[in-house]
Amino acid sequence: MTANELDHQVAQRTSELAAANEELKKEIAERKSAEARLRHEEMELRRSEARKAAILDSALDCIVTIDHEGNITEFNPAAERTFGYRRAEVMGKNLADVIIPPSLREQHLKGFARYLATNEAHVLGLRIETTGMHADGTLFPVELAVTRIPLDEPPSFTGFLRDITERRWAEEELRRSETFLAETRRLSSTGGFSKRIATGEIRWSAEIYEMFELDPAEPLTLERILTRVHPEDIHSFNEMLDRQERGVDYEHDYRLLMPDQSVKYLHVVAHASCDQNGELEYYAAVQDVTQRRLAEAALAKVRSELAHLTRVTSLGAMTASIAHEVNQPLAGIITNASTCLRMLAADPPNVAGARETARRTIRDGNRASDVITRLRALFGRKEATVETVDLNEAAREVITLSLSELHRHRVVLRQEFADDLPPVMGDRIQLQQVILNLLLNASDAMSTIDDRPRRLMIRTERDEDDHVRLMVQDVGIGFDPQSVNRIFEAFYTTKNGGMGIGLSVSRSIIESHRGRLWAAPNDGPGATFAFSLPRQSGGVIRASSHDGGWTSAVTDTPQISRQP
């Protein structure tokens, strides 16, 4: 081998070594980079796992994953809380054996098998509501969404579950509450409306549209509403609108006149409140009280007829008394006329005496006429009227008519009338009917009493709460305290020949005047009957006239709590 050959070999070898060295360096560099990449990926994976774990741990929904055999591979803390299992208890167990109720297991297993065989899914990607089972065996409604985990082969699945017991309960409550409200509105013929005063925007419930017989499809305007308001009640309707501007709570009674000329009676209770922006808004309940009004009117008519019947019954009882009242002046008339004729027939005629007796004849004639007028007022058939009534005066008139009847029964009457008695509002004749009834009852109660004076006291006085009271006290046979309620029942009577309607009618008359009629045994012998009526300033009184005493009116009501 020459030196040249040797040199050449060395050079070649060196070059080969260098190349190999380069290869090695490259390989090392590549390996290092691969290692770095791997480390990076591992770190990424760990980060991802950590993120996933964090999501699993803090998710509010239950997250349960299963593999293709249905075995549980993940069971997050929310699932632990909801189903009552520890994660470690259920990992690797079949889902069907753990949280699916026995009744649904077969369905679940079939669906799962079908999907694996055909990829035909019924639940994937859908939000469904089904039933879950707690570790203690209780069942509860759950909302479920199932997704297939992408990439995994064989397939695995993630289920997101949520206990919707409370939501179901709330939904049910809401539904019940809505049904309740709707039923209540329907049963009570009540509708609701709201009105924003600033914009005039009005919203009605379906019931009000039905009451007004207006089409809900057309815009609701005040003009449209006014087409239904009864012409006679437009004034009170406008008064109500004024109140709305002022933001006060109110109650309003008014009528509708329907296109077929029928009349509906409405009762409105309205409450003002402010919305979040401080705008005035009304919420109101509207009730169709037509049926009630008609019933009240019918009741008033029956009451009026009964009252008349009672009056006629009393009339019978008082025939003798009335005859006395009329016969007294008639006796005067005939005596005076006889005297007059005799004075004129004398020689010379006593003209001055005759003139005086003629004058007395006329006076007694007028007296008889007054008696008849009073009788007709008290016993005639008459529509109820509301007027200012002085109870003292009303009682005195009744006493005038019944005094001789009382005397005939040897009743000693004492009258104690308060001087400063405020007037009441009501039907004078009806109230006098009650007073007469109480007086005759008291007299009857003493008709068998012979061992003591038959004292009867009638007294008027101011009562508490701006009321006026009239009481009639006798010393008669009294009544059994146990039957105190029965004596006010219709057709209950302790009297021979009594019809037993006097007290029940009397009580209904007093109650229609917003008053109270009661009875109490005395400490001594006898009983006291009394009634109490609100004095005149105590508001509008509904007397029992034939339309039930209805008036259209708006009244302020005490302000109830207002929204801030």
Partner: protein, 123 residues
């Protein structure tokens, strides 16, 4: 006719006390009127009264009560009852108890005069 015999009228009704005395005077009687039995008993007219015209129903002492009281005092005055309560059962009872007559208001002047004549004749 007996003139100037005293007839006393007891009646709580004022128009009777006013009208009846004038008629009785036309008949020729002397008359005193009283508004109650008690007032008559308290008066000094009992002795002179030849006939008593007496209302039945009055507050306080009634007509029949007064009649009984007078009988008990030995004052046998003929009584003509007058009443505005036209009760048919009342008259026979009063007549049995000694009344001369019982007239229902309103009564005629002739009926009254006949009753007075009967009363004074009985006296």
């Amino acid at each position: 006719m007996v003139t100037h015999s005293l007839v006393s009228v007891v009646d709580d009704d004022e128009s009777v006390r006013e009208s009846l005395p004038d008629l009785l005077k036309e008949f020729g009687f002397a008359v005193q009127a009283f508004s109650s039995a008690e007032e008559f008993l308290a008066s000094d007219c009992i002795e002179q009264t030849r006939c008593l015209i007496l209302d039945i129903a009055m507050p306080g002492m009634s007509g029949p009560d007064l009649q009984l009281e007078l009988t008990q005092r030995g004052q046998d005055i003929p009584v003509v009852f007058i009443t505005a309560h036209g009760d048919d059962t009342v008259r026979p009872r009063l007549l049995r108890q000694g009344a001369v007559e019982c007239l229902f208001k309103p009564f005629s002047d002739t009926a009254l005069l006949a009753a007075l004549n009967a009363a004074l004749h009985a006296d």
